[in-house]
Symmetry: C2
Subunit: 354 residues, 2 copies
Amino acid sequence: MKHRIIPVILSGGSGTRLWPASTDDKPKQFHALGGSQPLIAETVERVRGETDGISFGAPIIICSARHAELTAKQMAEIGVTPAAIVLEPFGRNTAAAGAIAAALTAEIEPGALALLLPADHVIQDRAGFLAVIERAAAFAKERILTFGIAPNRPETGYGYIKRGEPLDAGVFKIESFREKPNAETAQQYLDDGGYSWNAGMFMFDPSVMLREFEPSAAIRDGALAALKQGKRDGAFITLDAEAFEKTPSQPLDIAVMEKTRLGAVAPCDIGWADVGSWDEIWRLAPHDDHGNAKHGPAVALDASGNLLRTDGPKICVAGVDNLIVVASGDAVVILPRARAQDVKLLRELALKLN
Amino acid sequence: MKHRIIPVILSGGSGTRLWPASTDDKPKQFHALGGSQPLIAETVERVRGETDGISFGAPIIICSARHAELTAKQMAEIGVTPAAIVLEPFGRNTAAAGAIAAALTAEIEPGALALLLPADHVIQDRAGFLAVIERAAAFAKERILTFGIAPNRPETGYGYIKRGEPLDAGVFKIESFREKPNAETAQQYLDDGGYSWNAGMFMFDPSVMLREFEPSAAIRDGALAALKQGKRDGAFITLDAEAFEKTPSQPLDIAVMEKTRLGAVAPCDIGWADVGSWDEIWRLAPHDDHGNAKHGPAVALDASGNLLRTDGPKICVAGVDNLIVVASGDAVVILPRARAQDVKLLRELALKLN
């Protein structure tokens, strides 16, 4: 028997570190930052169809109300008809979204599992991804599954999951979740081998998830009230603002995963990246002979290691190395790759120019 | 008695080293590169009105036919009605323009001197400029005057004028014109003190100039035929293409000045610059506390010595030094100030992108 799985795409991110391409009106997930399609399109495409062991239903998408049209248009472009597009009047973090995902999945297809996926990540190895989903699905009737990314560097920007005793077939109980570590601790995690990056992907039976919300019942109850009292219009469900405003804002990791004893982790190495900075986008992109990654019309003369990315104007550089150059919307950003994080600060300074 | 002077503005330059601001459709002289107004407007404004010794007539402008409207519009914006706008169907260098300048000046105001001025230079000291014109005008009935710029560095990009015996009042006979020197020779010229930069500015009595064209009679005769057979429409005079095409293309320096015995030079130090590169524009511009010169909306964080120039998009830089960044039209150019000359090459590479 194939496991039926409803992908629930969390599209609430803002991606300010990828300004000026990523903006409030058109954040990160709506841009082609990994491959040729916008990240949200690639995320949805990745969980279509079926394998020997799993079969995907139409996706549910949870996004900001301001991106309703953009989201619907994006899905139309790839020929996907979502089972629902849940519109949040404002963000309430991933715990509220997790409760809504559980309730809606149960409503749309009783018996199906929910697979919670951020809309703005890259996964280069789709076959490996589907294989680990299939492997994990065997446990998802009793447990809440996470997918633990094999770390390849002592990254301090992610949370970690320490695996506990093995269940079977490369799936483990979770010993604990760890907050973003300092550099020394991150190196220890890497050396230890028993830690994975927490990529914010979850798979669960809706009834199990809703039950395990018990220690954070206010979040669940608030989110489900906002869903129940929401307005439905075709595939769109606009959450009730009054109920949603009362819903506490917490990550699902903290509200549920750190409290439940039913957590499990499926470690995997699937070419995952959260494309959280222009430097990482340079790293993921194909390079020319001089290490330049180009997106859009660009000329590089005696220049190496640069990211040259444009939505319109030709970028022409000579004699510069290891720079990020991004021309998008009403801004051009230029800074060393090593200072990619300063994009947030530049964005704030640029906003003050108005 | 005041000397009557007709300014003749040579607006035929293309300014490819100032791409992407300067383009074929809107070259250098139509951009504000020195002050707040386009160079051609500042050039015309500089020679309006009168002083104790000189009085300027309405200017003649010689430009490419493709810039007819742009030129007329620019003059209208500063409230100047040109005596004539001569439209060249194609460029034939400054000798042909000099002959036309002489003939038209004689036609428009018999007895007036012609003052030939490139449209795309900066002169910061207007009072000094007017003073040297007044000083030189005393000799312009018998001699062809040039204005020799006091060199402040061993520049290899300009021609030089070696002064000969003094005439009077800081005006000298010309001993010889010198081609662009190598670095060693340029240093010798600077140390010698008897050399000036040839800024391509000339003042003369039309009849003297036309007579001294005798060794290059084909240029004069071709240019005057093109003028005579040209079409007149209000202030516009479109040169006859057939006649103009037969006119040899030479600089006035070579066709006349190196051959006449009537040359004279008035050395001066008037804040002249030919703004021939983005690096020079950075040098001329006001700087912030970190040596950044900004034109248009720009943000600089931990960045120094940069030229940040934009016609539209906000330029936001962090952690970069001594760069030229120019966003204009359909291109963004980024290169070290020390490589400013590479703009020409980048322009050619960018054109191939199409």
